[in-house]
Each structure stands twice: as structure tokens, then as C-alpha cells.
Symmetry: C2
Subunit: 442 residues, 2 copies
């Protein structure tokens, strides 16, 4: 437990590790251009596209260079395997996704794959074998930018994707998933063959850019993810009374926008007062009829509430809705909130998370635990095995944007921490506590 | 001045006056249907359309029945003249507009014309002549629903429309004003001939539905308009920082929508605190990028500020902009307000307004003075002569809407008050104070 201390001096980072960080960034940057991007304007790499194929080929080459045997599974995932000290040892999976949103940044997704490759490359250069194999996985479909659903490929690998789920799913051009898979050389009916045997997997580690400003604000290159937030979404409507902006005195108004504005500030205040990791956001708003000289009669807006625990999320949402009711009463308007999404929290495995925290602290970095407010493949992988997630600082918290930026130095520290994690995991297994780790969160 | 007292019992209203009110409503209702409306769905009567022509023909018939000589002027205004006791006496103009917005109510505009006709009809029935003529005018273009400008016909009559102003003005179908006038049988180049000689006009009286909820809230059928409000409009932008709704903790946000919400409430609070007749409205708002899971980075909204006096309006707007600056500082966002419209106040003539107030009080009605927040032809007519305006209660303050409703009883009271006004004006003129009235606000 002493690894929690942050008084240890920053360890010496060998030149090879520094070079590894630079290589991670260079490779992500290279994948940001043609032929690894489909779009003329800005990076866009969707699942089962020529850009996806080109990126797989480049990554397969880098995996081979790092000493891995490379294959593609039945769900199109690219898998590089670095054997452990014993043949056919169970594997630690290190993965992330290589698809992107439109007009994407270069690191959301690929960074985690490149970091995994550099970990293995370092072991390979040192001819170091661990009591387990390491498999680096490049998932194909985390963002859901092509089809109106996401994480098909990690769900297939985790064994939670029923092939029938794909029936009738088409992309924006009307192409069914099955046809896209067939064009790629895969059979949709056999996608379930990508499912891994839980007995052959000891855990899943995912490194990802934070996509938020916390690490930068605290001057930390890395953070340890405790889990993926529980989420509730509502569509909210406010019905007041439309009126002429010039002829209706202030005391006689039932202005739907003024009521909605009070709601927006109530959302903010309730989330701030709750503290902890609760966040609540109004991201969308439509004001009707929407004319300069008309007092708004109706406003519609979205409400998104997230927290690390379902009960805290529910308490936060409950308090917000109570405040909405009070506003409706005070202002003589009607406010209705319709729930439209309810996702429970996906906690990371406590034992793996502890090892990751020790590995980060050993780099002289205060081990900052934080919640992931965004979804990741790791959320899906909890169904297969214990998971851990490492966040890497990104500039300004900016993501899903060409301005997304990660420092090479931070990538180097991430490689070092991930190497520390796999070494610690190896030590733990050698000490015969393997089952306790696997059992803790599987 | 004793007419301010409201203790006088409601006067006896002869059956003829009660019938007049019902006729006003019935005629407005009749004009709400084909062939007096262009649109299949809802009332729509635009300037220089077949519906406008049909409405003019019906109204001309009612004017003639009421004892008026009817003509159409060079700007398409329908004018019915009821001579005074002396031939060629100067005229009191009683007017309103007969064009409408799309999906209009039946009273916004026509009510004032029908009330004017009933006043003259009552005088005619009583073979009563006044020291002045009365002309009832049906303006054609108050709403500006057809061409991207409004009040062409009252501006022409008031002598403030330069024919060159019409050059290049086209409707939604690309038809120039000049072509529309030509198809109607008029020459755009001669529109200036509609201008009236100020020496031949002693004043302008307009009755109009309130288009607001004040009279209904106070249980009053009529109100005396003190003037048309001064107006300032701004386009406001709020620039914060967009971010992921799940990954950016509350304390690190610069949410443009939360800042805009604070602005909306500041607008409301500043206007309420200023009191008096100041009103301030945010009617339009756009939230960008406008996704459920993205903290808004930019919000654009409209700000409309009105008051009876330019200085009060400016003071109100100044206070609102000061509060915006404070919000920007507190929240670390940028707020910019660009002025886009500045219309000065158009006060009604104090002497005519006083006479109208006395006439309303004589009906046993508390003489409620109120500002018109909306624009009217009367605003234009102040350039020609002293003006007065009477507001008639409308149900729920609803206007520009098929649900617009006026009670026949209220129309009866309006006819009685308008008759009282013209009688008082006659008495004043006979007493030799004509010049003081004409001079007061001309």
C-alpha cells in the first residue's frame, strides 16, 4: 500500500521509454492522414472502410515489429499476441479502438493501441516474458459513427453480441452491417466466434485520453479510472404562455424561456452542491416560437446526469427534478421531464485498479483517481474479465476535435506506468494470488 | 378634469349602441373567411391581393350605408368621408389597417375600421353634424406580411413615404411593389399623391385590440394609449468553452448556456426592478453545438427592450448590459451585445389623449392609461397630425392567432367612448380652442 505515497522521486526514464512515447504520438499522427482517413476535410475513420483497412495494415506491421503474432478475429478486431513464459498462458488484453468520429482528433482511440504496442515492444527488446501472454487489440467500432449503435466489435469479443442484433442495422447509405462485413471478408452470422473464453483472459487494460480537463488542471500526466459513470438522460419541456414582447408587462408573463433558464441554473447548482463526481448538463435547447418580438411559449431541452454510482446519479437527478417542480409552481408554467436513457455504472476492477495506481505512483505521479464520464470499450469488457483504465492528459480537455493534443512526454510516462502495471501483475501472479485478482471483479 | 373620477354610474347605453358593437364583431368575423382571406388554412389577407380587394369592397359598402362618401387614394387606402357642419371642414381621421399576418386573428386591424364606421353610422342615424368632417380610413399595409417593410400606405398618407423607397422592394414571389400597385390599378410613381394636407386634418384616432393582457387582468374593456414604446434590439452572443458532458467536472466548466441562462434571468430581473412600463424579452435563442452530451460552447440570443420613454428604455438596456458584463466576468465567458434596432418613442398627443380619457371615464370605466408595446399606423400618423389611440380588451392578451377574441359588449363600449370623444372634440372646437388641440402634438 505504500505505493500510494507520492514522495518517491521521479524514476529515471531510459531513452528507450522516451523514444517510445514519441513513437506513440508519431504513429497516431500518421494515422490522421490519408490513406488512414476517409475524409478530405478532417480525420474520419469509420468501421469497415478502406481507411479502417489501411490503418489495420499499418498497425499489424507495428505489432509484428514489436514481436507479436497478428490475426484478425471474426468481428474484424485486429489482435497481436505476445506469448508469456508458458505457452498458451492466459492473456492480459490491452486494447482500444481505431475508429473515429467525424472531424476527429488523432488520439481518441489509437493512443491506447499504440501504447499497448510500445509496452510489448519494450518487453520484446528486453526479451522479457511474463507469466501471462499480452494481447494488444484494435477494436473497430467504439464511436458508432457508421451504424446507429456502437461497440459491436468489443461486444462480440466480450461474448455479449447476439448476431441477430445486427439484423436490419444499416448505415447512412443503407448498407446493412452484414453486407459491410461480407465486403470486408467476414460472415455476420459467425461474428459470435470472436467471443473469448473467460478462462483464457486474466484482465483488460485500456489507456485512453481523458477527454476532459481534470488532469491538466491538476498538472498530472496520468489518472486512474475508477469506472465509467452511470447516466440518466431526460427530454424536458417547459410550457408557458407565448405573448407579444411589447404588450405583455413583466408581472403578467409566463415566459417559458425564463423558466427554462431557471431550470438550467438549477441543474448547475444542484450538481455543484452535490459535489463528488456528479455532473449534469443541458446541452440542447429549442425555444419556440423563437421570434425576437414574441415571449417564448415553449422550450424543450435535454438533461444529462452522470455519476460514478447509480444511487448518487439518481439522487442528483431527483434533486434536479424537485427543483424543476418548484420553478414550475413559482412561475405558473408546466415542466415535464421524460426519461430517455438509463445506463448503470460500470466500475473497474478494484484489484487491477490498485495495481495500476501503484504503477502510476511509482512514476512519481500523484495517483489521481477519476471517473470516466464517457463510455469506452472497457465498459463492455467488464462482462468478460476484470478491467482497468488509464487516462492520459489531453490539452485543454479537448477531444472529438482536430485540436486534440497529447504530449509525447505524457505518452512516455504512460508506457512506463503500463509496463509497471504488467510487471506488478506478473509479480502478483507469481506470488500465487492470481485468483484473487481475477475473482475480484470478473 | 373631473372626468378622471370613476365614480360616475355606467351610462345608459341605447340599444343602437349595443347593436353597433355586435355589428362590429360580426363584420370582423365575416372578413375572416373567403373571399376576404387568401389562405385555405387560417386567415391571411395581404396588401394588394384579391382578399384585400374583396375586403375593401365589403367595407366600402358598409361605409356608404353609414352615410360616407367613399374613395380609394393613390396608396390604395380606402377612405370614407362624413362631412361636418361646414362644407370642406378639416377632418378627424379614424383609421386602422385591414391587412393581416399569416394565420391571423380577426380583430387585429379591422376592429378599428369597423368601430370608426359605427361611430359615423350613429352620427348619421342622428343626422348629427360636427364642426369637422370624419374620415374613416382602412390602411392596406400595417403588418408588412407581403413586402419586407411595413406601413407603406399610412406613410404615403402621412406624407413621409418617398416613392423611391419602393424601388427594388419585392415580395416573396419576386413581384415588385410597383408591379403589385400597377396590377391593382395604381401608379407607384404617384403614390405621394396620397399625402394629406396637414391643414385639412385636425387629428387621428385609432382603436385597436390591446394585443396584451393588461386590460383583461384589470377587468377593463378599454384603455387609453399614451404612446408607442421606444424599442432597442440587440443580438447577443455568449462564448464559453464546449466540452464533454461526461468528462468535464462542474467547477471547471465555462458553460455558455448556463451563462446565457443567467443573462435571461438578469433581463427579467432588471426589467421587473425598473418597474413602470419597461419590458425586456429574450425571444430567440440558439445553443451550439446543441448536442445532449456536449457542454454548450456558444449561445446566441435576441434581446428586445421597450419603454414609453427613450431615456427609460436606454437606462433599462444599460442596466441589463451591465449585468451581462458581470456574468461574463464571474463565469469566464465572453458576452457581446450588438445593437440591431433603435426606434424612438412615439407619444400620442396629450390634449387628444385627455379628451379620449374623459370619454372613457364618462362610460363609467376607470381610465387606464397604458403604453403600446407594439407598433401601429398611429406611430406613422404623428408626422401628420396629433394622434390618440384607444385599446380594446382582447381575451387572454392573445393576438396574431386565430384564437384572438373581442367581446361584442366591449366593442359597444368602444363605440360609445369614441362617440363621446368626437362630441368632446366638437365642443372644444366650438369653444374656440381648436388651435390649442391641433398645436399640442402636431
Amino acid at each position: 500500500m505504500e505505493a500510494h505515497a507520492i514522495s518517491a522521486p521521479p524514476p529515471h526514464r531510459p531513452p528507450a521509454v522516451l523514444q517510445a512515447g514519441q513513437r506513440v504520438i508519431d504513429r497516431c499522427d500518421a494515422l490522421g492522414t490519408a490513406p488512414y482517413s476517409d475524409s478530405g476535410d478532417g480525420l474520419f475513420r469509420a468501421w469497415l472502410t478502406p481507411a479502417h483497412r489501411a490503418a489495420q495494415q499499418a498497425i499489424a506491421g507495428w505489432m509484428e515489429e514489436a514481436g507479436m503474432a497478428v490475426r484478425m478475429d471474426a468481428a474484424s478486431n485486429l489482435v497481436g499476441r505476445y506469448e508469456g513464459s508458458r505457452p498458451d498462458a492466459p492473456a492480459l488484453l490491452i486494447g482500444s479502438h481505431i475508429d473515429s468520429v467525424r472531424d476527429a482528433g488523432r488520439y481518441d482511440g489509437p493512443l491506447g493501441v499504440m501504447l499497448g504496442i510500445e509496452c510489448v515492444a519494450a518487453l520484446h527488446r528486453a526479451t522479457r516474458r511474463l507469466p501471462f501472454a499480452i494481447e494488444v487489440i484494435a477494436f473497430g467500432d467504439e464511436e458508432g459513427s457508421r451504424f446507429p449503435a456502437s461497440m459491436f466489435t468489443s461486444r462480440a469479443l466480450a461474448g455479449t453480441l447476439d448476431a441477430a442484433t445486427l439484423d436490419g442495422v444499416v448505415d447512412g447509405d443503407g448498407i446493412p452491417v452484414a453486407a459491410a462485413l461480407a465486403a470486408w471478408g467476414l460472415d455476420a452470422a459467425l461474428i459470435g466466434a470472436a467471443a473469448r473464453d473467460p478462462a483464457a483472459v486474466i484482465g483488460y487494460l485500456e489507456a485512453h485520453i481523458e477527454q476532459g480537463p481534470v488532469l491538466e488542471a491538476e498538472g498530472l500526466p496520468l489518472g486512474i479510472v475508477t469506472g465509467i459513470a452511470a447516466q440518466l438522460r431526460f427530454n424536458v419541456s417547459v410550457d408557458g404562455r407565448a405573448g407579444h414582447a411589447g404588450t405583455c408587462p413583466m408581472p403578467l408573463r409566463h415566459d417559458a424561456l425564463a423558466a427554462a433558464a431557471a431550470c438550467v441554473l438549477a441543474v448547475e447548482a444542484a450538481a455543484r452542491e452535490a459535489g463528488g463526481d456528479l455532473v449534469a448538463t443541458v446541452g440542447r435547447m429549442q425555444v419556440l416560437p423563437g421570434a425576437t418580438n414574441v415571449i417564448p411559449g415553449r422550450v424543450e431541452f435535454s438533461l444529462d446526469v452522470r455519476a460514478g454510482r447509480d444511487d448518487l446519479r439518481d439522487a442528483g437527478a431527483g434533486e434536479i427534478l424537485r427543483r424543476f417542480r418548484r420553478i414550475a409552481g413559482e412561475r405558473g408554467v408546466e415542466i415535464a421531464a421524460e426519461p430517455v436513457q438509463d445506463l448503470g455504472a460500470s466500475p473497474c476492477d478494484p484489484a487491477l485498479t490498485k495495481l495500476l495506481e501503484q504503477a502510476v505512483a511509482a512514476q512519481g505521479i500523484a495517483p489521481r483517481r477519476l471517473l470516466s464520464g464517457a463510455g469506452h470499450d472497457a465498459m463492455v469488457m467488464t462482462a468478460l474479465c476484470p478491467t482497468a483504465m488509464l487516462f492520459v492528459r489531453c490539452e485543454g480537455g479537448i477531444s472529438h476535435n482536430p485540436a486534440e493534443h497529447v504530449e509525447a512526454e505524457d505518452a512516455s510516462v504512460a508506457v512506463a506506468a503500463m509496463l509497471g502495471f504488467v510487471e506488478r501483475l506478473g509479480t502478483t501472479m507469481t506470488a500465487g494470488t492470481e485468483t484473487s485478482i481475477v475473482g475480484a471483479g470478473g
